[in-house]
Symmetry: none
DNA sequence: CATGAATGAGGATTCATTCAT
DNA sequence: TATGAATGAATCCTCATTCAT
């Protein structure tokens, strides 16, 4: 229906505005009035879709996190070999982050900041299940080091957040080749032997 | 002199309060009034030591970054072998971060947020020179992968920031053994062969 | 429309409050909070109508200056003789100042104080054009002394500001007769022969 | 004594600083700290010489007003004819104001602003006695118009304040000849016949 | 006398949120 | 549903004044 459609579009616009503004200035410099203006909406309208600023940010986080993991695991197939699976997922993660730079950056800032409710954070983590399953299998098969998932995450996925950051600041803009190198570092880090 | 001493103590107290409050609530929820209260001074007093809130945060960042790198490179000796050097530095970094958790966390938040002036950020980066020198040597000697320093940093030092974060949230509190594992992941990631 | 009407009323109320408070206490003792209270609005509301305190004062000045000159020159007719014109304008000026004492006083304070932006001051001066034209004609016809307009202004219009001041302080409350005398002083001052 | 001397110098410096700062920015933008700095003195020191900021400004006013009238009436001689006396006094007033521009301006601002205590204002007015006496004599002798002293003041002395103002703003810088013209306007204004 | 450090009260301004329409 | 206007609470910061030395 047209009405529902418009409603969804407005919500989308608000979420996009939130991402853009929080990315540039941080949470504390992204006032509701600016978000509203950027989304071509009255400040009051935001409260038709979100309960509060916190809620807006939380939902934005979840929305992006969902898109992120959906994309990452879209082609995932439990039948594939561990290393191949990991490689594919890792590259899809990288692809998402570097292609949709704004969204990737936003996630990074959420993950490194007391900006998101603990509840939403937990919610976001659930999405990673396929990756954790894969790691479990990898460990069982003696392909991946038998260490905490937190360590595996810290050394494979999280570095990409850092690289996003420096890219955003134009300190280091990674090339295709750099991405390949990065994958190698990630895999060498966690693979057994 | 007693006066100078007191002055230094007050500045120290303000910096500590800033770290604590920014860690818990983020920049946007760390008002000057709270910082003042926590440091047992009047809000107006802050402005005797710092020009503005931004200046306070910048200086805090630099202070901590200095303490951090000073500690990390304290025992560094150019004569040592590359791997041994790296291991020592890495462990000192880890030690600093996990021992002085608050400061480690504060740095992580500064590094992943548009909270710090670009100028101060640049200033902070300069301190890493010894590590960059070491990597250069390592690459020349064929011990470390010939990739950008940004990649090496992303896969050795930055993961520690992530681990700090999850520790702070009590999601995963690393043991001594975990630290050792983490080092192994870091080294395996960047070493050549 | 009712909404627009209310909006205008509110702006009016703010301007009136500004005039009253600046008159009594001077710019430095007319805080936005007091102005808001006197106008029966929240401090924040002021910023819906004015960009800043400076803007509020500038606009108030221009508003009053406009009302003032509009009134002064309303009945002005270029065809009239110079002396008659001058007399009429002078009396209208006097009438405005003494009838709407608050506004007259406010202008006087603005004109004798570094309170108004230079830009707004220039804007306000433009309104005087009819008087300057009249003086030009008077000089050409040998009726008015051939001296700078600044001198003519200083000896005809500005004295009224001074008289406002002393009236406000209840030092000397001019009667109808005093006004007539004042006019005589003004005219004798600038007329030729 | 050297000590007393130094004390007087300090007070003088404070008064000069007050004049300069109030002239440029108005009372509200002349903080004690700036005044202290300009006088090369600690803020606390001001309070050894003046009870409060208000007291400082009041005393500055009286000091300047005294200097002003002292100079104006210095050569006054009751025996002289009325017109000659008036001319002399008027020119000394003009001379003071235009030579010591800063002080002249300061007086003008004090006289047109609720900046000075009523008490100090009254005190300052007393100094004008010689001029009032002269006017009285002039009226008795049928030389000066029989109107209120306030009117006479408004049309002879006060215009000079206005001319100071425009000079300060570089709108109109009076020449020697302009001053002579101004005197003529003043005298024509109040003289009888 | 003189001061630099310290501060409580208050200033302008902004912001998340609400309400009348 | 959508809004522009409105606001109380809070934010950063300044200032006149005081106090320990």
């Amino acid at each position: 229906m047209a009405k529902l459609q418009k409603s969804i579009e407005k919500k989308e616009a608000l979420i996009n505005a939130t991402i853009a503004l929080v990315n540039n200035d941080g949470f504390h410099a992204a006032p509701m009035s600016k978000i509203a203006k950027m989304a071509n909406v009255s400040p009051a309208t935001i409260y038709l879709y979100f309960e509060s600023k916190q809620d807006l940010v939380n939902q934005t986080y979840l929305e992006v996190k969902n898109a992120f993991t959906t994309y990452a695991f879209e082609a995932y197939d439990e039948q594939m070999a561990v290393e191949a699976s990991f490689k594919m997922i890792w590259f899809r993660i990288a692809e998402f982050k570097f292609r949709d730079c704004e969204r990737g950056l936003f996630l990074a800032q959420c993950d490194n900041t007391p900006m998101i409710d603990e509840e939403s954070r937990q919610e976001g983590i659930k999405n990673l299940k396929p990756l954790l399953d894969l790691w479990k299998k990898g460990k069982e098969q003696g392909i991946i080091k038998p260490v905490s998932d937190y360590l595996l995450y810290a050394y494979t996925v999280n570095p990409l957040s850092y690289l996003m950051m420096v890219k955003k600041r134009n300190a280091f803009v990674p090339t295709e080749e750099n991405i390949n190198e990065a994958y190698q570092l990630a895999w060498d880090s966690i693979k057994l032997t």
